[in-house]
């Protein structure tokens, strides 16, 4: 007998799997619909969990994966609706979502009480900006990866695809900068310092630097298409490692936060 939350998580992941199936057949409108449906189901699961434990999904790896499955799916699905070009990265993006869903299944779903410093309103701004950044970064890098691997409707010289990828990286860069500022304000109130080079802060700044490097390299070095795509994929890998790798070396998203 499985609980309602688990059933919802399975259903949400299932929707992403169906979306992946449509993505590999290049049926873009269906991809957007299934991914948005999956995101809505994840939102429901988060809401139920929130009501049960009385706190948001901010702390454990399980919670961070659930909330990211929701936010990444939501951003990618909406991106497909408002910018159909974005959907061409769906074969890659859906695979990433499914990997995260499988990872989530192996994480401990128990809740840990939030530290008192997590009640700060700037935490909401910080997390929202971070989720939007990663979502936009997923759109950009999945487009680049689709071009790199010449997946479905993507070719080696596809300027429309690459232009769309860089546009999404620009949006991601704005959100990432907002995330750093909101995080600094939160840290100032919570721990009495706005920046302390803790592992997550350093990696987040490293990701910001990687984006700055990519944006400058693109305009200054006349890069060929393949290195450009590699840069975009590299930025996402670094961001992914920052979001989901740091908890392995720290007991909380920010070491010392508990």
């Amino acid at each position: 007998m499985i609980g309602t939350e688990t059933a919802l998580l399975i259903a949400g992941s299932g929707c992403y799997a169906v979306g992946a199936g449509f993505a590999w057949r290049s049926r873009w409108p269906a991809v957007a619909r299934w991914i948005l449906l999956g995101a809505a189901i994840f939102a429901l699961a988060i809401g139920m969990r929130w009501a049960q434990f009385g706190q948001g999904p901010f702390l454990t790896m399980h919670e961070i994966l659930i909330s990211s499955l929701f936010s990444l799916g939501m951003v990618f699905g909406l991106a497909c609706l408002i910018h159909p070009q974005a959907c061409r990265g769906a074969p890659v993006a859906t695979v990433i979502l499914l990997v995260m869903a499988i990872w989530m299944a192996f994480t401990d779903s128990r809740s840990t009480p939030l530290p008192a410093t997590y009640g700060n309103p700037w935490l909401w701004v910080h997390v929202a900006m971070g989720k939007l950044f990663l979502g936009c970064c997923l759109v950009a890098s999945s487009l680049a990866a689709a071009g790199l691997f010449r997946l479905r409707a993507a070719s080696l010289q596809d300027t429309g695809l690459d232009r769309a990828a860089w546009q999404w990286l620009m949006v991601a860069f704005v959100f990432h900068s907002g995330m750093l500022i909101a995080g600094a304000v939160w840290a100032q109130d919570a721990w009495g310092r706005y920046w302390a080079w803790d592992p997550l802060e350093t990696w987040a700044f490293g990701t910001w630097l990687a984006m700055v490097f990519a944006l400058h390299a693109r305009v200054s070095l006349n890069l060929a298409i393949t290195p450009q795509r590699l840069l975009l994929v590299g930025v996402f890998l670094l961001a992914f490692l920052t979001f989901f790798g740091i908890p392995f070396i720290s007991i909380a998203p920010h070491k010392g936060a508990v």
Binding site: A116, S177, I181, W191, F213, H216, L221, N222
Partner: protein, 326 residues
Amino acid sequence: MKKALSLLSSLCLTLVGLLWLAVGLVADQNSWLSGVWAITPPLFLLALNLSAAMFVDRRFRQQPMLFAFHLCLLLIAGIAGYGQLVTHEYRLLLAESQSYSADMLHPVRGGPVVAPGLAEGFIRQGRIEVDYTPGIRRGATRSALWLEGGGRMVIGDDVPLLVDGYRFYTTSNKGFSALFTWLPEQGPAVTGSVLFPSYPVSGLMQVLTWRTPGGEDVEFTLGVPPSPYNDNWTLSSAHVEAADIELSVGEIKHTLRPGATISLRGGRLRYEQTGMWMGYKIRYDPTLPWLFSAAVLAVVFMAMHFALRLWRPAGESAVRSDGCVT
């Protein structure tokens, strides 16, 4: 001169500076190099590179939002650098009923520019409470402060006390205190607190030594009841309200209850009551509002620049002889 400026403003140099900064971050994180030496030189190079570009690059100046964004980045670097000169950090331990005094401040670090002082007695410590959940996990901290003039404020966790550019933060460092009055054989009585080690981290070690004004060393041991490990509970002075204090003078031990007096060399010591103390982290950083404003403006200008680019077709770019685009 013009050629030197042109070289200094090169976007290729920007890329070198960014890579150097990335290497500096890795070096700092792995403690291969101290933060100052790992991060400051590449930041300085990038600031020089950016300043030169703003000065010589006409195309750069023709994009006002991009220009303003980079100007804000320079401002942030400048403000952060100035902050190193004027920022001060202190520690302060304050027992319940005790008033602030400048000689209680313990400097941790600070720049060469002297910070303005705080008025003596501008705050008095009120009740301290810290919530705990099962497993002795620390929850909310509430520290009441009486402000000069009659106001009262409860701070804790992410709510600091802001006064004259100073920010007072509660910390996890707190414990029990005991209030004593020293009654000398001649002269006026003096009342003061002794602070026991941090609790609950040093729960079983509530012992401290103190030298009386009469020059005698005494040892206090506070009998603290065990903490409820599996329950929700609140740490406050009520936890030790009825606790005895064992006072040792050499080999002789005395058990004191509140109100008890003991004769010692040069006078008598009266045990008044137990309470709590709170460890504060205090920061004076007048650059914070400026830093925040510059950062927000930077993001706004960057967003506007990208928005303008997203709504216009891709432009041509001129390639310089060194391969870098101007």
